[in-house]
Amino acid sequence: MTSGTVATFEESLERLEVGWTHTDAAGLAGTLRTVCDDPTVGTPLPWADVTLPDWVEDDPTADDVRAAATGVTAAGIGIADYGSVVLPSTDDGSEPVSLYPETHVPVLRRSDLVEGMPEAFSWLAENVSGEGGSAIVATGPSATADMGELVKGAHGPKAVHVVVLDDADETEDPR
């Protein structure tokens, strides 16, 4: 991934008022500690040698998810032009984990950043759709303007903080 794409992604996140932190597999636990509020739930990250710390409940029940303050899930790709993360829905519950808690922390490998929407849809067509494959292109927190002015946090998270893994193995796919 070129540094230009990373810079574009960060500019987009800034526009969205979404925070981000760069780290690596070794630093992930420490980074998550600073950006997650307890209780935190998550779903296991699909990359070799990258694991969630013990204090993240990574096998949550529906009630755990509803009670959590933070949800941590893997992002399939990031879209630099938009500051979006693409969240594949997995059978262990990444969709509710990314949706219910007040803060969502998507973990994205730096190598999975793509430039724009055409690249993102090539990836989606190949990796997601068909046979129950689903994904959310998520851009910033949930929002509504239906109550008279823009409010962040409608039915979904009020805040998003992207954790970028700068060194993760590039050979394995999140699905």
Partner: protein
């Protein structure tokens, strides 16, 4: 005013007072956001072309794509039901819900479900139906209809919603701020979603290759509605099918920008149901990872409800390309003032609603609001799939005209030598034949003007034709522009000395009423070395077209082209003063003329200041034109308005053609400081503002213009405008005379 006109005027006044402010603020915000957001796109026009091509292909191959989609959804384990009409769709949805013993159905926002009125069906069967989109929920509590296809509660203020919540729930600590109101709704709805039995969603797009649906949302309620209950029912019009997942890309980039001015909405869900996410069962101790998704059931209800017939209708077919982004509503001056409760039918609102309502509900429903499209064409550039929305409105108006049984009336007999069948509304026929009236008016001026100004005559005109008494009537000139030009001995630049030759098109207004701008145009072109001719040429057909008199407009198109073909062959450029006439040549004539004829006229006709701009760019000397310093006398005549500072309002159709910038460039080149208006349309829109039932609306649409040109910076600027009706409207809105820009350029005054 007739009673039906009075009733219509009263209803519009009521909406202007009660909902106009909220609607205006929100739609104008969306519209400004659209301009800013699409400006960031590298290739906006290219994306629109791509989106349009995908829709054209998809609607063309629709039956085949529906088969493919059905196969894909069934292969995924879902069910597809093709419903012929609303009753059929509702019955199916009810039976699915009954088969699940559903007590509660939660819904995310879906205009198709509004169209079906499926809530009524389910509620009659004893089910609790809850709208989870915050705006839709507010309307459900208030028992009101959406006023906008994307932001349904756009007409409600924060204070109004707070009061509604207080009345409905009597909470201990009533929410007041937007944040508090949102959290209050989130909490209530969260509980209702948690134990819902069926989740209903719409679908913005469906891909035939994989059976994937795209839901474009921001709140997250659609995600919850599809995720939490184990049964998911999606309702979608058949037109939502596109070939493949990759085809979603241009739409995802365009839909948010075009609608609410967001680059992208918070969530674009790509669901291939039944989804593999585990079912979410609160109160159950099983970890989600073990819950599994085997219980999931998915039903896709594809709704025809008139769409397949629209597909066979050459004129309404384009409506099916609509992606319901709301750009045509937000960019519409009339919509910005009254919103969808006036400018809308049973379900849909805004410019494209005429196509939808005519196709789905029938022409009678479309007839109730179709007049609110003035053909200003500002939605044409805004539409992400390039639908010619004004044309659809015109065609439907024509059909409505033909369907009406009218009475013969002596008043307009002789004034209406048109190609329309009997029964066209008298008011429409009168305005549609304005060119004939203008001829008579000039021939009998000044008597015609004095007569028309008499109280009893005005009152008769109002009663019978619905011409509002508060409007000044145009004053006919005894000597037409064509007569004047002949009398002065033709062009003062001999042909052999000229660099170029131009035919100045004498549109009805310039020829009969505002001849001074025509004379100014002739003198300006001559100052730049152009040999000018001003022959008699038939009217452009704009007036009948705007009344939906398509056959008459088509006749005009053929007559005009016949008159211009030879001058065009002689290498003359056609120069047009009135932008609405030029827009006929550049846009609507494509519907009427042979392609080669249309292109020849379009490629060789110019708006007058565009032409001046071209002459200056090709070596003509700007010194030949007058500028601010030579303009002192007329400034004094105008009551002391600044001599070098202008407030310029370009004509709506001129802006759609991309020709406003030329005027600004020329005025700046001769030394003026130009401020341009930031409003889509002045509100007059040809005959619209003269009609008694629309007078108040017309003035309200012009209000932002009055504010812009009446503020501290605008107050002492001289007002210039390119369109006849804009000039009339500005005269009425401001206490300053408005001038056509070409009149400022004439050397020696």
């Amino acid at each position: 005013m007739s009673t039906s006109r009075e009733a219509k005027a009263e209803r519009i006044r009521h909406l202007l007072e009660t909902e106009g402010d909220a609607v205006g603020q929100n739609t104008r915000g969306f519209n400004t956001g659209r301009y800013e957001s699409v400006a960031d796109l590298e290739d906006y026009e290219g994306l629109k072309d791509e989106a349009r091509a995908i829709k054209e292909d998809a609607i063309d191959r629709l039956p085949e794509l529906i088969d493919d989609l059905t196969e894909a959804v069934e292969a995924n384990g879902g069910t597809v039901y093709l419903a012929s009409d609303a009753a059929d769709a509702n019955r199916y949805v009810r039976e699915v819900c009954e088969s699940k013993d559903a007590d509660r159905v939660v819904k995310s926002k879906s205009m198709t479900s509004e169209e079906l009125e499926v809530n009524d069906e389910l509620q009659s069967a004893g089910m609790d139906v809850v709208e989870t989109d915050l705006g839709e929920w507010v309307l459900q509590l208030a028992d009101e209809a959406p006023s906008h296809i994307v932001a349904p509660a756009i007409h409600k203020s924060r204070e109004g919603i707070a009061e509604l919540f207080r009345e409905t729930f009597d909470p201990e600590d009533p929410p007041e701020t937007a944040e508090e109101l949102t959290m209050f709704a989130r909490e209530r709805l969260g509980e209702l979603i948690a134990d819902a039995d069926v989740g209903m969603t719409g679908a913005n797009f469906l891909t035939a290759d994989t059976g994937t649906m795209a839901l474009v949302t921001s709140e997250g309620n659609a995600r919850k509605s599809a995720l939490v209950p184990d049964t998911h029912v999606a309702v979608a019009g058949v037109e939502k099918v596109i070939p493949s997942v990759e085809d979603l890309q241009p739409f995802v980039e365009l839909i948010g920008r075009s609608g609410t001015g967001q680059d992208i909405t918070s969530y674009v869900s790509l669901l291939t149901p039944p989804v593999n996410s585990p079912t979410v069962d609160f109160g159950d101790d099983t970890p989600l990872a073990d819950a599994g998704s085997d219980d999931r059931e998915f039903h896709l209800v594809l709704v025809d409800n008139g769409r397949m017939t629209m597909r066979e209708d050459d004129q309404l077919k384009e409506t099916l390309y609509c992606i319901r982004c709301s750009a045509c509503a937000n960019s519409c001056g009339n919509f910005q003032s009254v919103g969808g409760h006036a400018f809308g039918g049973e379900t849909y609102s805004g410019g494209i609603a005429t196509g939808w309502e005519a196709g789905i509900e029938g022409e009678a429903v479309a007839a109730e609001f179709n007049d609110l499209c003035t053909g200003c064409s500002r939605c044409v550039d805004a539409c992400p799939v390039k639908i010619d929305i004004p044309w659809i409105n015109t065609v439907v108006r024509d059909r409505i005209n033909r369907g009406e049984s009218g009475e013969f009336d002596w008043l307009v007999e002789g004034l209406t030598p048109d190609a329309e069948p009997g029964g066209v509304d008298l008011q429409k026929r009168f305005f549609g034949n304005f060119a004939t009236l203008a001829k008579l008016g000039s021939a009998t001026a000044p008597l015609s003007n004095r007569l028309a100004d008499l109280g009893p005559v005005r009152s008769l005109l109002d009663r019978t034709l619905g011409i509002d008494e508060r409007r000044d009537l145009p004053e006919f000139q005894r000597e037409t522009l064509v007569d004047w030009f002949r009398a002065r001995g033709g062009s003062h630049v001999p042909r052999h000395e000229a660099d170029r030759e131009a035919l100045l098109y004498p549109d009805t207004y310039t020829n009969h009423i505002d001849t001074s701008r025509g004379k100014a145009a002739v003198r300006t072109l001559e100052a730049l070395g152009v040999h000018v001719t001003v022959p008699s040429v038939p009217a452009s057909g704009r007036a009948p077209l705007s009344q939906g008199m398509v056959a008459t407009a088509e006749e005009r198109a053929h007559e005009v082209f016949s008159a211009l073909a030879e001058p065009l062959d002689e290498g003359r450029d056609v120069v047009v003063v009135e932008p609405s006439a030029l827009a006929m040549f550049h846009r609507e004539y494509e519907q009427f003329l042979a392609p080669a004829s249309f292109e020849r006229l379009r490629d060789n006709s110019y708006e007058v200041l565009e032409y001046v701009f071209g002459l200056l760019s090709n070596g003509a000397e700007v010194d030949q034109l007058a500028g601010p310093s030579t303009d002192r006398t007329s400034a004094v005549a105008d009551g002391g308005a600044s001599t070098d500072r202008l407030a310029y309002h370009a004509h709506c159709q001129q802006r759609t053609l991309g020709l406003a910038e030329h005027t600004v460039a020329v005025l700046e080149a001769v030394g003026y400081d130009v401020r341009t208006s930031e409003t889509e349309c002045c509100g007059m829109a040809g005959s619209f503002g003269y009609k008694s039932e629309y007078y108040d609306l017309s003035m309200d649409v012009g209000e932002p213009l009055r504010e812009q040109f009446g503020d501290e910076d605008g107050r002492d600027r001289r007002v210039v405008a390119s369109g006849t009706s804009c000039l009339e409207q500005l005269d009425a809105l401001l206490s300053r005379d408005a001038t056509h820009p070409v009149e400022l350029l004439v050397p020696d005054g």
